[in-house]
């Protein structure tokens, strides 16, 4: 819970910004961390990100269109934090295409029933900041470089998630509910961002099996069943612990076996653009069944009413 800060009951997130074209945390203009300038401020999963070999990952993203890059999702987890990573396209001072990365780390409590919503807000924040900063840094303005160097680019890297509109492209409540069941999940991401360290893919079984040839992948999130399907034996279901008498929320076991997020029951959204038609087909099927059930119920009610009259 290192990064958790609750002000007015809203969780706060700390952000990172990476890009190229300025000399901020490294003595070159190559891809580097701009915020925070000082690595001593980094926390848990943020430190893990420092070891990423960005070259090949960025190279794979350059051919994508802006919208495709914005649609990528990656959320990494550990016992006390989650970290969302987002990318956006911008331009360097020579008008060449360049990429920018934002991350957003939130301290979490796995027993928190709002965890799905918190994740959705953290993803929304990192995505919004990526596209916003891509515009502000386009062309590497000198003014921005000065602000980054003298630490006046931001008044604080802590952002309130309270006013962030939750990300709607992924059903995060269901995803988190599924993640809570399994021991060994490091993160969940769209196939192109698996290099960041997630071992569960937001995609189809086909995509997962293809990605498995390249990355250490242990499962995929099935939108139809809203559950994680394992692809290796490295993921284990959490064993239920004998429940001691509970006196307060602080005394509950850290990883409940089947936590349920309060916001379940929303229509499923596709986890990636590639899966949209599958999810939409499933939604249509569900709606048809619902309509049939409604019609049957109305018929039954009419029959009973008639019988009662007779």
């Amino acid at each position: 819970m290192e990064a958790t800060k609750f002000v007015d009951n809203h969780p706060h997130a700390d952000i990172q910004l990476w890009g190229k074209g300025y000399r901020i945390s490294a003595d070159s203009e190559e891809f580097q961390r701009y915020v925070p300038k000082d690595s001593a401020q980094l926390k848990g999963l943020e430190r893990k990100i420092q070891a990423i070999l960005w070259g090949s990952l960025l190279e794979s993203l350059y051919p994508l269109r802006d919208a495709e890059i914005a649609a990528q999702r990656c959320v990494l987890f550990d016992a006390s934090d989650l970290l969302s990573v987002s990318f956006a396209k911008t331009e360097d001072r020579h008008r060449r295409p360049s990429l920018l990365v934002t991350t957003c780390i939130v301290g979490i409590d796995w027993r928190d029933p709002r965890l799905g919503e918190i994740t959705a807000r953290a993803v929304a924040l990192s995505s919004r900041l990526a596209t916003t900063y891509a515009e502000n840094l386009r062309g590497n303005p000198d003014l921005v470089g000065r602000q980054l160097r003298d630490n006046s680019f931001l008044t604080s890297r802590s952002f309130d998630l309270g006013e962030e509109r939750p990300d709607q492209t992924v059903e995060w409540a269901h995803v988190i509910s599924a993640v809570k069941k399994w021991n060994g999940i490091t993160g969940i991401s769209t196939p192109r961002l698996l290099q960041l360290g997630a071992n569960v893919v937001l995609g189809t079984k086909y995509e997962a099996e293809r990605a498995k040839q390249q990355f250490h992948l242990d499962g995929f999130f099935d939108v139809r069943d809203r559950d994680i399907k394992t692809l290796s034996d490295r993921l284990k279901l959490w064993e239920p612990k004998p429940e001691p008498p509970v006196h307060s929320s602080q005394e509950q076991p850290p990883y409940p076996l089947s936590p349920v997020d309060s916001s379940l029951g929303q229509p499923p959204y596709p986890p990636s653009p590639e899966l949209r038609w599958v999810a939409e087909g499933l939604q249509e099927l569900t709606r048809s069944v619902d309509r049939l059930v409604d019609v049957a119920a109305e018929l039954l009610e009419t029959i009973f009413r008639e019988k009662r009259r007779k």
Binding site: T132, E135, P141, V144, Q147, F153, L154, D160, E163
Partner: protein, 437 residues
């Protein structure tokens, strides 16, 4: 800050690029005018708080060579005081109907005030889109219900904004003052005396001259109420056509102003009556009463039948869940006697009416039931007021309304509300007759 270009660059430099996006400086003075500009304005998107659109004002601090007048308004001392006052106002939150302040920064170069973007009421009035806001202005800015202890010295449609959620708030935050020991210290007494009657202008200037730019709580409340009411009137009547600083508002100005509005509109008649009365007395009634009377008097003919635009609230009663109560239920059985019992029976219909759940026939039946109740309890103003509301706002019958109000005044002579209503209805009925010729 020697020329406009430098000012623009400096404003961008003052705004951290990680906190603000899409910064558009709105005034970029060049040449000789550059040195005269005392403030820079910009629109931007706040990166925090979900990315809200914002309006930024940067008051440039007076230089060491500045004259005494400039130093008075934008000198370092005044900007520091203003910064501290705005911080206190910000902490008070919604206890003052002020635009949400997103950031306040004070530096040697000046004072930066960033606030949520609003639509100025003046623009809506100019476009003819503010009619519906007349009652809203009275409700949202009412110091008696929102919270007192504050004073805005220059309330006018240019200094009132409408937030995206529809709430009316005060802008031009430098004109906001907080009460101290029953007095308001008006450091820069800039206002528009043509928006006040002569007596009020004299009183304000008299106190400011006598008391070291201070006005007392009572006068501040009177001035504030008048200016808010006037802004609410402008929503219906359009902008005041005469704006000469040395010309106070008088009866002839109001008569000329109102003459260009639709005389058949009861809202126009209402405001004419209220403004003339306010000029005579140099004061206006509590804004809550004004709003209630406006809501009772106004007929919004453009709305669907049975659903007036301004819904008159009924305090202290539970909302009706369904229209289970029929009209006949209003007429009490012989066992039920007494005004309170009868009124309790009426309340579901009161709510149903305001919820737009009564059709034309039911409204007629409701009015007839109210006429019976008013006849049985002629000294109860509530029955007459409800009856008048139905006749004016729903049946839109000026002749019947006039006979009802006259009947009511026979039983409750001298009632201020009914008397005012009678005058308005008379003007309305007269306007209709005039219009029909």
């Amino acid at each position: 800050m020697s020329n406009g270009l430098d000012m623009t660059v400096n404003l961008r430099a003052l705004l951290p690029a990680g906190e603000w996006a899409n910064v558009q400086v709105l005034n970029q003075p060049t040449g000789l005018m550059a040195n005269r500009d005392w403030a820079l304005f910009a629109k931007a998107k706040r990166v925090r708080d979900g990315g809200k659109p914002a309006f930024i004002k940067f008051i440039v601090a007076a230089g060491s060579q500045a004259g005494s007048a400039t130093l008075w308004v934008t000198g370092g001392g005044r900007l520091r005081d203003l910064y501290e006052r705005l911080q206190r106002i910000r902490q008070l939150g919604r206890r003052i109907p002020v635009v949400p302040l997103l950031e306040i920064e004070h530096s040697e170069s000046g004072l930066l005030i960033a606030m949520e973007e609003v639509t100025p009421l003046s623009e809506m009035i100019d476009r003819g889109e503010a009619y519906r806001l007349s009652a809203k202005v009275l409700e949202d800015l009412d110091p008696d219900t929102i919270g007192n202890g504050w004073h805005h010295f220059d309330v006018c449609p240019r200094n009132i904004g409408v937030l995206p959620d529809g709430r009316c708030v005060l802008i031009d935050v430098e004109s906001l003052y907080l009460e101290s020991e029953g007095m308001y210290n008006i450091s820069v007494p800039a206002w528009k005396p043509f928006r006040a009657p002569n007596q009020l202008v004299l009183d304000v200037h008299g106190q400011l001259a006598a008391g070291n730019r201070e006005i007392d709580r009572a006068l501040a409340a009177r001035k504030l109420r008048f200016e808010i009411a006037l802004a609410a009137a402008e929503c219906v009547l359009g902008p005041i056509p005469f704006k000469q600083q040395n010309q106070a508002l008088d009866r002839s100005i109001v008569e000329a102003w109102v003459s260009s509005a639709d005389a058949a509109d009861p809202a126009v008649a209402f405001w004419k009556q209220e403004l003339l009365s306010a000029i005579d007395t140099a004061s206006v009634p509590p804004l809550q009463h004004l709003r209630q009377n406006l809501e009772s008097a106004v007929s919004f003919s453009s709305e669907p039948a049975g659903a007036p635009l301004v819904q008159a609230p009924v305090a202290g009663t539970e909302p009706v869940q369904s229209l289970g109560t029929t009209i006949s239920a209003i007429t009490p059985s012989p066992a039920e006697s007494g005004w309170s019992k009868e009124w309790a029976l009426i309340l579901p219909m009161v709510h149903a009416l305001r919820a737009g759940k009564l059709g034309g026939k039911e409204i007629v039946e409701y009015r007839q039931a109210l006429q019976e109740v008013a006849a049985r309890y002629p000294t109860h103003a509530d029955a007459w007021n409800e009856l008048l509301l139905v006749v004016i706002s729903y049946e839109k019958d000026a002749v019947l309304a006039l006979s009802v109000v006259k009947e009511a005044l026979k039983h409750i002579p001298g009632d201020d509300g009914l008397t005012r209503m009678k005058n308005i209805i008379q003007m309305w009925a007269g306007g209709r007759q005039h219009g029909s010729h």
